[in-house]
């Protein structure tokens, strides 16, 4: 799939995952690369962008014994934006698949 095309969608997927639970960077990276064909390491810039846009925030949390890990979590703004973007995407993708299906009927 085209990388530019994917970027916006990936942001939405990251927001969706973070909407469910707080994650550390590697967690997000693994979750996405298992389902979508992306190179490793491309998720971190997305997380940073979401952070600089104020949609996610980070905090440090310690696991038992290990060094403190940076967790990402959605901000209030992030939750709002995610909800809106999700609606928009669902509607858009439905329209696209409707259009694509039309040629089958001809």
């Amino acid at each position: 799939m085209n990388i530019q095309y994917k970027k916006g969608v990936l942001e939405l997927c990251v927001l969706s995952l973070l909407n469910r639970r707080d994650c550390y960077g590697y967690d997000v990276s693994e979750y996405l690369s298992k389902r979508i064909d992306i190179s490793d390491g491309t998720v971190y810039p997305i997380l940073r962008k979401l952070k600089s846009d104020g949609l996610v925030t980070t905090y440090l949390s310690e696991e038992s014994g290990g060094p403190p890990r940076k967790y990402y979590s959605l901000t209030g703004l992030g939750k709002k934006e995610y909800k809106a973007a999700k609606e928009e995407w669902l509607e858009f993708s439905k329209t696209v698949s409707d259009i694509l299906k039309e040629d089958e009927n001809e």
Binding site: S39, T42, Y44, P45, L60, P67
Partner: protein, 236 residues
């Protein structure tokens, strides 16, 4: 390509693309390597799956552009920041003075504790007190010294981290393109340090309570009155 090659290549590309906060980004990738290794992959396998350093640096570079465009260095923002500083800087001065005051308390307690426990009465500053009671009271005051020293360290770490976060925020708001640091609710110690500090605090607190109670009881017994300070005229 191994981890070292990849990270140094990435560092070079980040520099070439003028990406801000490179150290933080490199740490993120270092952690990625660590997690992959823990999952049983070699450094080479990890590198092979990673996107190229240039591609990643380009991705970061597009964020930086937006950040600097979005944060115009306008006069209003800067004036606002200066007014804010007028309030915030004194606040930090007060906070750090508090740390200094607690440090002074701790130092005073240590001196007093040693004097009491050692039954040393320099220049007659300490009122009369029968010896075994003064030993107990000295131990109590020494525990208080440890307790306040811990409090000072705790407050200092917290305030220093808050100050750092504020400085970052300040730079970012002034248009420096510096990302925000999380403002901590409590100092970020390692688990080991935190455990040690907690145990030491608990121990000092228990010792303080036990020794003060013991000293008071002993004084009451020795003086035969419930208010021994009147008998020996401590406050006159």
């Amino acid at each position: 390509m191994n981890k070292h090659d990849y990270l140094s290549e990435l560092e070079k590309e980040l520099k070439a693309h003028h990406v801000c906060d490179q150290k933080d980004i490199l740490e993120e990738y270092e952690e990625h390597f660590a997690m992959r290794l823990a999952d049983g992959y070699t450094e080479e396998e990890t590198c092979a799956k990673l996107a190229g350093p240039r591609e990643i640096a380009e991705q970061y570079a597009t964020i930086g552009e937006k950040a600097s465009k979005g944060k115009a260095k306008n006069v209003f923002v800067l004036t606002g920041l200066i007014f804010l500083d007028l309030f915030v800087v004194p606040l930090f001065i007060v906070l750090f003075s508090w740390v200094f005051a607690v440090a002074a308390l701790s130092a005073a307690c240590s001196v007093l504790g040693v004097l009491l426990a050692g039954n040393l009465n320099i220049a007659g500053l300490i009122p009369y007190m029968p010896y075994p009671a003064s030993l107990l009271l000295g131990a109590a005051v020494l525990s208080l010294a440890v307790l306040s020293a811990l409090g000072m360290v705790y407050c200092y770490s917290l305030f220093a981290q808050l100050f750092k976060a504020y400085k970052h925020w300040h730079k970012g708001a002034a248009g420096g393109g510096v990302p925000y640091l999380p403002a901590p609710h409590h100092p970020q110690y390692s688990a080991k340090t935190r455990r040690r500090m907690r145990n030491l605090t608990l121990l000092a607190l228990i010792l303080f309570i036990v020794f003060s109670a013991a000293a008071l009881i002993l004084l009451i017994v020795l003086s035969g009155t419930l208010e021994p300070w009147h008998l020996w005229n401590w406050f006159n």
